[in-house]
Symmetry: C2
Subunit: 221 residues, 2 copies
């Protein structure tokens, strides 16, 4: 099934924030590779990743020893190692559940395919749009999801339905055997602890900005 060797299994629990920074480091390293750089200092990696070089060294130390003192990191080697750590050396099969505007935009999002995330199908319960194609991906009926999943074994479900349907859809994808969910619906979902959920809530992010604007203004006045 996998196209790369098993990634090194870290011995301790790795915080979500560390995994996030590893993703950022990977982007910085890939940009350096695109510029033709062969090595990168932890200072440069930290600056472009928005953190400190001490943090970079700490993050990478969880997974073993990388780089040589005074010579920086080998860009190609570290790209490969971080990709393996993040599980990016293989293809991940994705269902998008909800064929509204956000769902449709995600089907076309190049950032997914570039990282090996392949969208197999988009599900909706609106008979008016079932059967249409979005950027080469068919819109399938929600009632087929469990049946399709038994055959295709998707790894990840991206939920892009309205808030009031999020929990029902989450239960559907969990009972279809999907163990990783990215939730775009503006509502928390409850799933068994064997299922990993990440939530992306754009209104929440905007509210965080509003809070910063209000309280910065208050402090400044």
């Amino acid at each position: 099934m996998t196209r790369s060797p098993a990634p090194p299994a870290p011995e301790k629990h790795i915080a979500e924030s560390t995994v996030r920074r590893l993703s950022l480091y990977l982007r910085v390293l890939e940009q350096a590779a695109a510029r033709g750089q062969q090595t990168l200092s932890s200072d440069a990696l930290a600056e472009d990743g928005g953190t400190t070089s001490a943090q970079v060294r700490k993050d990478l130390s969880f997974f073993g020893s990388f780089g040589k003192r005074g010579r920086g990191y080998d860009v190609a080697e570290l790209v490969s190692q971080i990709s393996d750590i993040l599980g990016l050396g293989r293809e991940w099969k994705v269902y998008i559940v909800g064929a509204g505007k956000i769902g449709a935009a995600l089907v076309s999002y190049r950032g997914f395919s570039q990282r090996g995330f392949r969208v197999l199908g988009v599900y909706d319960n609106n008979p008016q749009i079932v059967g249409r194609m979005i950027d080469g991906v068919g819109v399938r009926s929600m009632s087929q999801l469990e049946h399709d999943a038994a055959r295709e074994m998707p790894d990840i479900a991206v939920i892009t339905v309205p808030a009031e349907h999020a929990q029902t859809v989450a239960e559907l994808v969990v009972s279809a055997g999907i163990r990783a969910i990215m939730n775009f619906a503006p509502a928390p979902i409850h799933v068994p602890s064997t299922v990993t959920v990440k939530s992306v809530n754009m209104a929440l992010e905007l509210e965080g900005l509003a809070y910063a604007l209000v309280h910065r203004d208050a402090n400044a006045s």
Copy 2:
């Protein structure tokens, strides 16, 4: 300019994670109000907000005293207080920069307008689409952004351009006087410390899921 009294200014620095939970509590409270509930216990608020009741009490204590021991929180009162804290009692003017699929999906995203975020314009540098309307909002030329901003005084810019243009666009909106940015481009942007940035990177979130899947599988085998 504002339609509500100034929010209480907290005396200490409030962590981003606290602000995030306040947004979640607000949603839970609004759902309770929609069901006709007048009070809500901190246990109920915690469960639906995905946290503990001790955390709920701690989060709310930053801002003063809410609720009565043994009687729970007054739903309407707490909705109003959290809305004020988050700066949601007023309208926030938003520019979306980048009229691609994600930008267009965001124009139509009801979660924004429901919270008082009003999209005044969508900017793009593709002359083929400048002048079109997306859900009642006009696509404007990027070259007009500074000029428009001087007149309209937008509060927030949402950047939805490709990664390679993100920094240039960030500098443009900062020089136009916008002090809050939501960055959807899959690249970090560098701005002065007087500008608040929140990043939403969907590929990063998917990578976090991939990491969880790989390492859960590795641990389980």
